[in-house]
């Protein structure tokens, strides 16, 4: 194995730009594939070479494994970075790269396959002695679901076996809700993943979403870079992420991080990954949720508090470099918060708001970081997800970080399109958020409340 010298970035948007910057810092050439809709994107403007691989529709461009791998091979790239979303968790891409002698910047196909099937991952975690939520392996019918719910205990959560991103996920508080939830959940799972299989877990009402960032090299070293709290969600989509998780008792924190490292070790995992957990705030217990086998949207909060560039390490590890970081040096310094800025109108049910950005004035200052692909004059295309970028702040402690974020959100001026910035500013200003008295349902409760007050 040798260090990579030319990487094909098989993604778009802010993460393509983020990977490009990591390549620059390492002196690695960065080629980027684009669809026809992204010919003038920021990633395209910055890349060493741009290859248009298809029309705007993602299935004919960013989701076409053969095109992406062929381009990597034909342009002499020795590595391929999949980013997040699109092909990043498709085992076939990792396998195809390997067959063609291209280094996939991510885990091996087997790891992606194991963790990609949520049922297999759950079984694996159980085998490793990591606690999983009371639940089932597979729900075959409405009758079966009703029987299972009786033993699992309401409320229950139905999830897609092949899933992710909240699609196919349904909460049922009683038997009548469960019937509807089963039908809509399996239909959604079929539509989104081509696999209607659902499984059931007990739903913890007062829960936190905690996840642990890990890095694993080719030499058996697995490190954790602490945890993130991503409890502020809407429809299972993260809105705000923080590091470290201020609410977590220290002993629980150490236990969760150790279990993530152990899981990655037993799976023979390589490169960057994230193990997600649900923490029951009342029982002070944690449960394995799933493992994401890619870089995540919210990775910057971990980078801010640890000072470690995760994307650069992904590239180094892929090139065979051993992890030279030491676990004891990875204590979080201060507190970081990230908000995801989407081109959506919160006032209209988070309706997408594509169009021309006429003004883009981002805040600046100590501890402020913005990961974006947008600037004034850019057109937000309706073809892809609506994320415009991420605003991250880093301060000495959580109260200071919250204050800095409130100021930064207020100073962020985007015109021409609707964004979620005003809504994020409202959440940030709420006493419950500032005091940390929140759970995974909090943002939706805030929204429901604001609807009632209209």
């Amino acid at each position: 194995m040798k260090p990579l010298r030319r990487i094909l970035i098989a993604n778009r948007g802010e993460i393509a730009v983020r990977i490009l910057r990591a390549c620059r810092a390492l002196g690695v050439e960065a080629y980027v594939v684009v669809s026809e809709a992204d010919r003038d994107s920021m990633a395209a403007r910055l890349a060493d070479r741009v290859i248009c691989i298809g029309p705007a529709a993602a299935k004919d461009s960013y989701l076409d494994i053969n095109k992406v791998v062929h381009v990597a091979k034909a342009t002499g790239c020795d590595g391929l970075h999949p980013g997040y979303g699109f092909l990043s968790e498709r085992a076939e891409l990792s396998a195809s790269c390997e067959q063609q002698g291209i280094v996939f910047v991510g885990p091996q196909a087997e790891s992606i396959r194991l963790m990609g099937n949520k049922l297999a991952a759950r079984a694996f975690a159980e085998e490793c002695g990591v606690p999983v939520l009371p639940g089932s392996l597979r729900v075959t019918s409405v009758t079966h679901a009703l029987e299972l719910a009786h033993s699992v205990g309401y409320p229950v959560l139905l999830k897609a076996a092949a899933g992710g991103g909240g699609r196919g996920m349904k909460i049922a508080r009683d038997a009548s809700e469960l019937e509807t939830a089963f039908q809509t959940g399996s239909a959604e799972a079929q539509a989104a993943f081509g696999d209607a299989t659902l499984y059931m877990e007990h739903y913890i009402a007062n829960a936190r979403h905690i996840e642990v960032q890990i890095l694993a090299d080719h030499h058996g070293v697995v490190l954790h870079l602490g945890e993130r709290d991503c409890s502020v969600q809407r429809r299972f989509q993260k809105l705000i992420e923080e590091a470290p998780a201020a609410s977590l008792p220290l002993s629980l924190r150490a236990e969760i991080c150790a279990s993530a490292v152990m899981l990655a070790q037993k799976a023979g995992y390589r490169n960057a990954g994230t193990v997600e957990y649900i923490v029951d705030q009342e029982a002070k217990r944690f449960y394995f949720l799933e493992m994401n086998t890619r870089i995540q949207v919210e990775h910057p909060v971990t980078e801010m508090v640890t000072g470690v560039d995760l994307v650069q390490w992904q590239i180094r590890i892929a090139g065979g470099t051993p992890l030279t970081l030491q676990q004891q040096d990875l204590q979080p310094q201060g507190h970081a918060i990230e908000v995801r800025i989407n081109a959506e109108s919160a006032a209209h049910g988070f309706r997408p708001s594509p169009g021309l950005i006429t003004r883009w004035h981002a805040p600046e200052g100590d501890g402020i970081r913005i990961d974006t692909h947008c600037q004034a004059g850019d057109r937000v295309s309706p073809f892809y997800d609506s994320m415009l970028g991420k605003l991250i702040v880093h301060a000495a402690d959580r109260p200071a970080a919250v204050r800095a974020m409130c100021q930064a959100v207020a100073a962020f001026d985007v015109q021409g399109i609707q964004t979620t910035l005003p809504f994020l500013g409202q959440l940030m200003a709420m006493p419950a958020f500032q005091s940390g008295q929140i759970n995974t349902r909090w943002a939706e409760q805030v929204l429901a409340q604001s609807q009632l007050n209209k």
Partner: protein
């Protein structure tokens, strides 16, 4: 009755293993002309394998001369600015018709290595004649002429990567 791609592959296999030097075959609208010595000469105006754009030819390992390897193009051929005629080679006569790549992939002018190209500049083509192949991971897709005409200009070198929508050649209607 049209032969299937598999049948054509079988025919090529039998031909390769035989002592025959040249083979010409016409079944329905498919005309096949192959030569081991590359000496088909004037008759090579007929495309060796006429494919419609939707048909992809996946050669088996045994038909070695039909599987061009993926080759890295020289690093000095950045293809970042393409898509319009003007971007590629200045203004073209208004009546010329651009043939653009229907897919990203490796562009091949010949049906197989050491065989004459499908078309040369100046060649007359009929509608649906194969002009070139585009390969994506060993899947070969023939690009056919949209009309009868003459090949006015070929802009891309053989065995180089072309982008989706890149102008490959110009045809002049006749």
């Amino acid at each position: 009755m049209e032969p299937t791609i598999k049948e054509i592959q079988e025919i090529l296999k039998v031909f390769l293993d035989s002592e025959l030097q040249d083979l010409r075959l016409e079944v329905g609208s498919v005309r096949l002309a192959v030569s081991k010595s590359g000496s088909l000469g004037a008759v090579a105006m007929t495309p060796a394998v006429a494919l419609t754009p939707a048909v992809a030819l996946t050669p088996t390992a045994s038909t070695t001369h039909a599987t061009p390897a993926v080759t890295a193009p020289p690093a000095v051929t950045p293809a970042a600015s393409t898509g319009t005629a003007a971007a590629v080679g200045g203004a073209k006569p208004a009546h010329w018709v651009a043939v653009t790549a229907t897919s990203v992939g490796t562009f091949y002018r010949c049906p197989a290595p050491h065989q004459p190209p499908f078309v040369e500049v100046g060649a007359k083509v009929q509608a649906n004649d194969t002009l070139c192949l585009i390969e994506v991971m060993k899947m070969f897709t023939g690009m056919t002429s949209p009309m009868a005409g003459r090949v006015a200009e070929i802009l891309v070198a053989d065995a180089t990567l072309v982008e989706h929508g890149q102008v490959l050649m110009y045809l002049e209607p006749v």
